[in-house]
């Protein structure tokens, strides 16, 4: 049987757009002082938040985000079919340890910082395929846990280059539901484009933006060509965490691919912090970066009907400390989900 809901090479079109029933996000102190401070459900007063280690703090954030999303959607844990979650830490410990406490059927995912888009896209596929009615897609990242895993101890006094990025401390959760069960105007997932892993030979682990930009451009171009969309179809094409350098590169790569988005192209890594006031170098990064922007700020824009169509492109650098120490380049992936503020409808 051919794949009926597949459009083009990499994109799927959901037959009933999958409803985003609710969304929730938690953020750390620095994010809580940033330009999006009003959009977070929970802001933690400090990086440890009274836990015994940063790892515990990160998984607590993830759990808080999931429970908060369930609360906002008026659903209990018994309603949820799958929790699709991931994070940046080895063996995805934040997601799996949070899932232990949440007692939900759990599918752990690793797409580095693209995991928010990946989990939401897969969650929507499960719902549209009739395998689930409600799914939660959730991710987390924490500045201190990823620093110690990928780079140096947090108190180490090395000098970081200006193009490096600051890992966002935060978690986000999207509660997805079967479209027909939710009538009325809601942000709904209409398409999902799974990206290819792209590697153009970048090796500097401090410069993730340059490494990820080609993957982002590839997925965006693929999405537009798979669905034959005009450049102004989306009000906003939002990349995950390319930050200053990657954002300007992706703009150029899209231009080369004959897709000019101008102000319609933005990046979560640049939105979540104020680079002129906060010491974050080129901008934010991490799973939490795209998650807190999507689940907070963007969902608010949808609620106020200031945004109609969004292409959310999670971008992930799939490196590990081992691979870059062994001199290998950084493979990257980008996944895209299309969200539209619309009523339930049947697409054929």
């Amino acid at each position: 049987m051919p794949a009926r809901r597949k459009s083009g090479r990499q994109t799927v079109t959901f037959s009933r757009p999958v409803a985003v029933v609710s969304a929730a996000c938690c953020a750390g102190p620095l994010e809580g002082e940033g330009p999006l401070r009003g959009s977070f459900d929970i802001v933690y007063p400090d990086m440890l938040n009274g836990e015994k280690s940063w790892e515990v703090t990160e998984r607590t954030m993830l759990k808080d985000a999931v429970l908060c999303a369930l609360g906002k959607g008026n659903l209990s844990r018994d309603n949820i079919d799958y929790l699709l979650a991931g994070d940046l830490l080895n063996q995805c410990i934040s997601a799996s340890f949070a899932a232990r406490d949440l007692s939900l059927p759990f599918l752990g995912l690793y797409g580095a910082c693209s995991t928010m888009a990946e989990s939401a896209g897969l969650g929507a596929m499960l719902i549209d395929g009739g395998f689930a009615q409600y799914n939660v897609a959730a991710v987390s990242s924490h500045y201190a846990t990823s620093e110690r895993q990928y780079r140096f101890p947090t108190e180490y006094g090395g000098q970081r280059p200006p193009y490096s990025q600051y890992t966002v401390t935060g978690a986000g959760a999207l509660l997805l539901g079967h479209g027909p069960s939710f009538q009325g105007l809601l942000p709904r997932l209409t398409h999902f484009t799974a990206g290819q892993v792209i590697d153009l030979g970048q090796k500097d682990p401090f410069d993730m933006g340059s490494a990820m930009a080609p993957a982002a451009a590839d997925t965006i171009l693929r999405h537009f060509s798979d669905l034959s969309l005009p450049p102004d179809h989306y009000d906003l094409v939002l990349t995950g965490d390319l930050a200053l350098v990657g954002h300007s590169i992706v703009e150029e790569l899209l231009y080369e691919g004959n897709l000019v988005l101008k102000d319609r192209l933005q990046d979560c890594g640049l939105l979540v912090f104020d680079r002129t006031q906060q010491n974050v170098f080129a901008g934010g990064s991490g799973c939490g970066c795209s998650a807190v922007v999507l689940c907070g700020h963007i969902m608010e824009l949808f609620k106020q009907a200031k945004l109609n169509r969004l292409l959310f492109v999670g971008t992930g650098a799939l490196l590990s400390p081992t691979t870059f120490q062994q001199g290998e380049s950084i493979p990257c992936v980008a996944h895209a989900i299309a969200l539209e503020l619309c009523d339930d409808r049947f697409v054929e």
Binding site: P153, G157, G158, P162, L200, Q202
Partner: protein, 155 residues
């Protein structure tokens, strides 16, 4: 030419073009500013060291032995500032100026010890304390050995 090597060539060209694009777009490291600041801060730390040395001589240490308490004091200061969460700020500001003197060495050990204390005293602090300082010790010892042998042979 075989199909495969053509594809490899194309990929190489694509990567090269991309390197050029990245080089153009990437925020430049302010090299001149970094060098000047490193010189000034490194110099300042050395001046503080010299002042401490004079102090220890004044307190009665023989001149050739006054270096030891001086280094110990600088290590103490850098370790304290690391523990108080100040040193990483100084390091970001001054770069090699803060890193090259003994203060940077102290910071690399204390920051690692702090970072991994949650993994316990043996597998955490004990095993990881020298993860950044280890290479300096190893290659310091190797260099000293080579120079020592050369000195003995060519004297």
């Amino acid at each position: 030419m075989s199909k495969q090597s053509k594809a490899a060539q194309r990929q190489q060209k694509q990567q090269k073009d991309y390197q050029k694009l990245v080089a153009r777009k990437r925020t430049k490291i302010p090299l001149f500013r970094n060098i000047v600041v490193a010189f000034l801060v490194g110099g300042f730390i050395s001046v503080v060291g010299q002042a401490l040395m004079f102090l220890f001589v004044h307190l009665g240490y023989p001149e050739e032995q006054a270096g030891d308490p001086t280094v110990a004091t600088l290590i103490l200061i850098a370790s304290l500032l690391t523990g108080l969460g100040v040193w990483d700020v100084i390091g970001q500001f001054a770069g090699a100026g803060a890193g090259v003197p003994v203060t940077g060495f102290a910071n690399s050990i204390v920051s690692s010890a702090l970072e991994f204390k949650r993994e316990g005293l043996v597998l955490g602090v004990g095993a990881r304390m020298f993860q950044l300082a280890g290479p300096i010790i190893v290659y310091g010892a190797v260099t000293a050995f080579v120079v020592g042998v050369a000195h003995a042979v060519f004297r």
